[in-house]
């Protein structure tokens, strides 16, 4: 097949769309390979706007790993804005990659990374623009395999009709194995066509092919059973886990966009997984066990990445960065190494702990001192026991006092609203906490210009967490509690004016909840929303709650279920959940016991420092916790010098 760049046809349209630079490619560290020189071709997509999708670490890691293979190429595509979508339809231009502007339909695999369910309608736009049948059953041998990954792939059932396959968990090794299967199948002359390839992938147990499983329902709407409909397909599909992060130092050369993106920094993943056991946190549950990158590995990635990108900020990424067993040595080592080079270092995610003030002071040695962020998540002591976020108000006040004493002026606090068992009182406690923060700050610093910003999101129960059985709080209750909270903050003028409050209404969370815990019957809702114009549901200006609700009513009524059934209904212990055949390693009985503990406000310790609490992951997955300390230090690379973190010999003696 002849595959040509569509750029010549695209270019005349670009002056007519917003932010055209997002479509031209040419990012630093991007790879362009000749189409005919390779055996297997991947198109990787992050189904949101370029500015959100480009920084995605998952896509960047897989892009680099695949392109390192001599006979494989990987290109990227992102969701196009509605203005360009309209022009592309008018001028018959297909969904294209930004690397070589090749049509997406020509690739062997279209791999999508779903961090959030609100990208589902963008999947349909991309398939349709690419000329790929929306429904997997309608695809031919010439179409790409449409494959989903990312956190949302742990319950891909709502988009099962549109996917050929899904991979749960870490993708580093999985993409190479899938590539090998495709390479062999193509070399053999594509025996058995598309179905045989999918069967080969499915029988490995690590790739989920929805169409090889039949779902039946009970009269009350619940799932009766999910069973394979082919001999070679296993009953359960297991998540993938990459061990020894030091063997996978990706991305080695992070992509640097020309366009502005949501993260203007280089990210280095310092560990993967989290065992703190916060019951709302899907990421913490599905990424177990904890696997640390070594201090030397981190140092090398930072050094190599800065030289390859020129970024002036490095984010040390993980689910809870201060939890790395050698975080103090890492931050001090990096701060020493880059002193005087105007290189900012940050820990994007930290817990409420006085220890973090030392880290923050160390990281801001270069001068940049914006604000500190903590996530107590719940306003009252009781609700924090329910969610297993073990932090006392005393701890928080002690921590922020230390911060204000060290010259910090602003603290940001993250909370959730709508948590299981939550009452108005739990939410109103957020106001008390914020006021206490201001009082403490004023007292310690002797200043008036202390600020506390509280940021509140609606809680969405997620699959593979102890809260997967919980009833989601309806949007009206959430909006009502947030209104009362706002009043409570404003009630005290002198403290209230130093407290900022940021929140979204509860409606997008309800749609996210519908899609998170949905089953295959939601495919028709998603398709209808998309046909009625739904795009970019993660964006306020595009999201329409009314459209989602009217489409859901129209499609679900005839099936005897409704939005409440999927969202605000509490599930029973023995109900078959749509994702029960997808194995994250977590023992369902353990999850249920933890859910009961939550209802009784009983806490659970972190297994990293206490005995195993039998969540089931390590034995099921054949994995183990990988943590230091190694006791090693970050070797100082001889003075990097003023002005730049990189030494260029061409300028020596200049």
């Amino acid at each position: 097949m002849r595959v040509e760049s569509v750029f010549d046809r695209l270019e005349p349209l670009l002056p007519r769309v917003s932010k055209p630079v997002q479509y031209v490619g040419g990012e630093l560290n991007a790879t362009a390979k000749a189409w005919d020189d390779v055996a297997v071709r991947w198109c990787l997509m992050y189904p949101d706007a370029y500015e959100v999708g480009l920084p995605n670490q998952g896509v960047q890691i897989l892009y680099e790993i695949l392109n390192e293979q001599p006979d494989v190429l990987a290109e990227r595509t992102y969701a196009v804005w509605p203005d360009l979508e309209e022009l592309m339809r008018e001028h018959d231009i297909p969904q294209f990659t930004v690397d070589s502007h090749r049509p997406v339909g020509a690739f062997d695999v279209l791999g999508l990374s779903f961090a959030t369910e609100l990208g589902y309608t963008n999947l349909l736009s991309a398939l349709d623009l690419a000329g790929i049948s929306l429904h997997a059953v309608d695809r031919t041998d010439d179409d790409p395999i449409v494959l989903a990954g990312g956190h949302a792939a742990f319950n891909p059932e709502p988009i099962a009709d549109f996917l050929d396959a899904a991979v749960l968990g870490d993708g580093e090794e999985a993409v190479l194995e899938i590539t090998e299967a495709i390479r062999r199948w193509k070399a053999e002359g594509q025996p058995g066509g598309r179905d045989e390839l999918l069967l080969r992938l499915a029988e490995s147990g690590g790739v989920y092919v929805p169409k090889f499983y039949d779902v039946s329902y009970r009269p009350d709407g619940a799932i009766d059973e999910v069973v394979p409909n082919r001999d070679r397909v296993p009953y359960r599909v297991f998540k993938r886990t990459t061990m020894e992060l030091d063997d996978w130092p990706y991305p080695k050369k992070p992509l640097v966009p020309l366009a502005e993106s949501v993260h203007e920094r280089m990210s280095v993943e310092i560990f993967r997984g989290c065992t703190r056991g916060c019951r709302f946190c899907q990421a913490g549950m599905i990424t177990r066990p904890v696997r640390e990158r070594s201090i030397e590995g981190i140092g090398e990635m930072v050094q190599r990445g800065l030289a390859a990108t020129g970024f002036d900020e490095v984010g040390l990424l993980s689910l809870s960065s201060a939890d790395h067993s050698e975080i103090a040595e890492i931050t001090k080592g990096l701060a020493d190494r880059y002193e005087g080079t105007n290189t900012g270092l940050s820990l994007p995610s930290t817990r409420v702990d006085a220890f973090n003030i030392d880290l923050a002071n160390e990281l801001s040695r270069n001068g940049r001192r914006s604000g500190l962020t903590f996530a107590p998540e719940g306003g009252s002591e009781r609700i924090r026991r329910v969610i297993n976020k073990m932090v006392s108000e005393e701890d928080l006040i002690r921590t922020v006092s230390a911060a204000f004493a060290n010259g910090w002026r602003q603290v940001k606090l993250y909370f959730m609203c709508g948590l299981p068992t939550e009452t108005d009182e739990d939410v109103l406690q957020i106001a008390e906490m914020a006021k206490e923060v201001i009082r403490a700050g004023r007292e310690v610093s002797g200043r008036k210009d202390i600020r506390c910003t509280i940021s509140i999101g609606g809680f969405v129960p997620k699959p593979h967490t102890p809260f997967q059985w919980a009833g989601q709080t309806d949007p009206d209750t959430i909006d009502d509690r947030l209104r009362k909270l706002r009043q409570a903050i404003n009630a005290d003028r002198s403290l209230g004016r130093n407290i900022g409050m940021r929140y979204h209404d509860g409606k997008p969370s309800l749609v996210e909840g519908l899609l998170s815990r949905g089953d295959r019957r939601l495919g028709r809702v998603i398709e209808r929303v998309w046909r009625e114009g739904g795009r970019f549901d993660g964006w306020n200006e595009h999201f329409s709650f009314e459209r989602w609700m009217s489409c859901a009513t129209a499609e679900l009524e005839q099936l005897g279920v409704d939005v409440d059934w999927y969202t605000t209904r509490e599930r029973g212990e023995h109900e078959v959940l749509p994702w029960d055949h997808l194995d994250s390693g977590l023992d369902k009985e353990w999850l249920w016991a933890d859910w009961q503990d939550a209802l009784d406000a009983r806490e659970q310790d972190d297994c990293r420092w206490t005995p195993c609490f039998d969540c089931g992951v390590c034995p099921t997955m054949g994995t183990d916790i990988e943590v230091g300390p190694t006791g090693r230090k970050l070797l100082p690379i001889s003075p990097v010098g003023q002005g730049s973190p990189v030494r260029n010999p061409a300028f020596n003696g200049g």
Binding site: Y23, G26, A259, G310, D312, G643, V646
Partner: protein, 264 residues
Amino acid sequence: MQKLRLRYAKRGRLRFTSHRDVARAFERALRRAGVPMAYSQGFSPHPKVSWAGAVPTGVSSVAEYAEVQLVERLDPEVLRDELNAALPDGIDVLDAADAEPGALADRLQVSRWRIDLPGTDVAELRDAVTALMAADTALVERMTKDGRRTIDARAALVSAEVQGGPRIVAQGDQISASTAQVDDWPEASEPYGILVTVVRQTTPVVRPDDVLSALRVVADLAPSAAASATRLEQGRLDDGGRIVDPLARASGGDRIPAGGPAAG
């Protein structure tokens, strides 16, 4: 402390970068290249780079200017080469020189533009340009950050001439990936107009699309959507009406203006 001035190009696909994109790309290239930059003091230190009147998003240029401050002395040509190795293709440093006294902006008084008008008949374009140059004023509307404004595009025009066909290329620099390859150009039989015009830098600045608007207002010329513009030169006008290279040393005339004098 050393102050260097750069002439750079923004062309090809990268003409779709905004000025902010270009500035970010430069700052990152400076860091990758290990250039000993001077940084601003204060809360959020930034490398000391100052920019002069950037070309709009979507418009090409081979004559953009910036000034950088360094903490060590460097050979301007070494800096140019190292920076080019670090910059993405399409943003290229064409020239670097030690800063002469006076503000860079004072040396950038006029721009010479080439505006390609595929689909526009040369004779028709010539008539329109003649009418425009004969007019006293040509009022065009534009959205500026202060709202909708009416500006007189004619007042800013120093000269405007139509060139006979696509094969006449400006001397000196390659213009852009999409228009530089003569072989790819449309057949001579297809209408294709090229307007080369010198425009004075006024406030608000008169841009190539304003010149096209002026042709529409004065002579009812409606160019196709495929019109594209390239800034060929910027500088001061000398007494003979020639554009003086802004990087030229005040003392000697040993620098050759890279774009050359206006053709024709």
